[in-house]
Amino acid sequence: MSGAAHSGAEAAVREAVPDVDALARGLADVDYLADEGLATALFFALRLPQPLLLEGEAGVGKTEAAKSLAAMLGTPLIRLQCYEGIDAAEALYEWNYPRQLLRIRIAEAQGGEIAEEDLFSAEYLIARPLLQAIRHPGPLPAVLLVDELDRADDDFEAFLLELLAEAGITIPELGTVRATHPPLVILTSNRTRDLHDALKRRCLYHWIDYPTPEREVEIVRRRVPHAARTLAVGVAGAVRRLRAAELQKPPGVAETIDWVAALTLLGVERLDAAAAGRTLGAVLKYREDQDAIRAAGLERLVADG
């Protein structure tokens, strides 16, 4: 395994994504509508190539962007969900100890010998997300989504940084695994803590805003195809008002889609106060938020214009 094929991957990527518009069209084909800013950011992440740090309110489609990019490229999405205390074994690789132990026992029972090299071979290696991404055979790079990096500890961040710079992993028992097609790395953060400057310096950055109401209608129509257009327009307007209100958890795009799906199940074609009241739980997940909106009047929430 070597980095020799690197230039080949580049050519394949160049061909798949010649310019920003082509990327935006490709994403639209898999039903993800990216605005110019996001399309530009994803384009440079692929073509420079450079890891991309995505931030934004919960539910604006950070994870969805990575998924759609993978779907568009036809490569696997490899996801590493971070949490407090995540360590190399869970992110990189682990040896399959029970299986190794069993192998030793079998060898003993048969009176045979077993060499250490046999025990520490690829057969007994469990590849975790980072190793999977590095080992991806190509021709297009895999999309590696490192989700909610801010939840992991500082030292994990440093470790990740090193790995991204090297695009390779050294396994003492096996040797170094180099990426033939370095993965496209997308990091997301909810900003519970500031990420390290060194990491930020290596990354491109994009802040995803809530979509405009018109775009949100388009997104909903693609995700819930059998929903009535009048319903999608009404819901997008109501959601815009909800985001402007002082809520504990303003609804994201995911909630908009859920809400329209729920209303469509009920056979609603135009959002009115009664229908909104029955399905408010699909869009507001805190009791206090629901109380506040009901108190302000559902009529005002669903008003036209």
Binding site: G37, F44, R47, D87, W95, D194, L204, H206
Partner: protein
């Protein structure tokens, strides 16, 4: 506006101006920007905007400053009278259509005039002040200063005495109680079997795991969050408490916030080790010093933007405030209830508590007290050791007086 724009000159000017506005811009950024421009020559102002933004931005807070600088540099670069060289640079077709409208996404942010540009003045003024102000430090007089100042009310201290307290502020070690982490370290008396190490050791004993190697979960101190009221009614304590915040950020890795009418996160500003520099940056970062008090709303901001996202989860939260609320006490109660559900402990520090006539009847204070685990005064150095004890969780006063 000119039909073409000199991109190399534009890139250089943008990098320089961004740096001046406090958005970090390194040679690495410049190289990346040049490569990005070569990769996808921008067709119009929007495309150029998004390319530059993707490359230079690294934090949402920088957006306002970035938009302002971009607009200024772009309009300047488009000026045909400007002393720009290379007219053969890639032309910006449609630049004339872009006109001078605000960059996309900038509109809801309002004008950049009162934007969040980091405190440039604070950085610049520092060197000068250092020079003509002789270094006043405490080592020689530390012991006596400690004696003399320990019981004095912070409100009665002058500038010099406050400076003398800086070193002492670090004395009461702030140690939030520990929590179990997911990580485990090798420990002979541990409670989990380390299969990997045991198996490895078994190679020496012919494949039999003769020696068990154990691990134990490690412990780490909980996160400490300090939220300080800097409204008018707290004015006499603000300087001392800000020093305390600086000590907490430097010593215990705390997250620091201040509020009067709105909440400002000061962790980054206070991370500077130099106290003068840190306090100056902090002063520049928050804009509502000595304003009115909106405890409820500020706590809500904290809960919504930081607490709920994980900062307050399992943390020890210290609130320094006299509880004078201009707004609705019910909001304070509601937000304290939310915070209570997230945090491990809430410590309320109220310097007015030291007074013998004090009764927690003021609206905000009365509303908040039921949700506090400890209620201390923190009005002097000696009282600050009580705060440290309350943070560690080994005080006896639980829930109110």
């Amino acid at each position: 506006m000119a039909e073409r724009i000199d991109l190399p000159a534009f890139a250089a000017a943008l990098g320089r101006e961004l740096h001046a506005a406090g958005v970090p811009s390194t040679p690495e950024h410049a190289v990346r920007f040049a490569r990005a421009l070569a990769l996808a020559p921008p067709a119009d102002r929007d495309a150029l905007y998004w390319t530059a933004r993707t490359v230079f931005l690294s934090h949402h807070d920088q957006l306002e400053a970035f938009d302002r600088v971009f607009a200024a540099v772009f309009d300047g670069a488009g000026d045909p009278a400007g002393p720009r060289g290379d007219r053969n640079a890639p032309p910006l077709r449609g630049a004339e259509a872009g006109e001078r409208r605000a960059p996309p996404g900038a509109a809801p942010l309002g004008t950049g005039a009162e934007g969040g540009a980091p405190p440039r003045a604070g950085l610049g003024g520092e060197a000068g002040r250092e020079a003509d102000e002789p270094e006043r430090d405490v080592p020689v007089t530390a012991a006596s200063a400690a004696e003399r100042l320990a019981d004095r009310d912070f409100a009665a201290l002058d500038e010099q005495e406050l400076r003398a307290l800086r070193g002492l502020m670090r004395e009461p070690a702030l140690a939030p109680p520990p929590r179990l982490t997911r990580r485990a370290r090798r420990d002979r008396r541990g409670d989990r079997l380390d299969v990997r190490a045991t198996l490895r050791a078994s190679h020496r004993t012919g494949g039999d795991p003769a020696r068990r190697i154990m691990r134990r979960r490690t412990r780490e101190p909980r996160r400490l969050v300090v939220i300080c009221d800097v409204s008018g009614s707290m004015e006499h304590y603000t300087r001392a408490f800000l020093q305390f915040l600086h000590a907490a950020v430097g010593g215990a890795g705390a997250e620091a916030f201040v509020f009067a009418t709105r909440l400002t996160r000061l962790t980054t500003a206070l991370r500077a080790r130099q106290p003068d520099l840190a306090l100056e940056r902090a002063t520049a970062a928050a804009r509502d010093w000595s304003g009115g008090t909106r405890i409820g709303e500020s706590l809500q901001r904290f809960n919504d933007d930081h607490g709920r996202r994980g900062m307050a989860r399992g943390a020890v939260v210290v609130i320094l405030s006299d509880g004078w609320e201009r707004g609705d006490p019910d909001v304070v109660a509601e937000q304290m209830r939310r915070l209570r559900r997230l945090a491990h402990r809430i410590v309320w520090v109220n310097p007015r508590r030291a007074s013998s006539r004090f009764e927690p009847r003021v609206g905000g204070m009365a509303a908040a007290l039921p949700y506090c685990d400890a209620f201390v005064s923190g009005h002097s150095m000696r009282a600050l050791t009580e705060v440290a004890a309350a943070i560690a969780g080994n005080d006896t006063r639980r829930r109110g007086t």
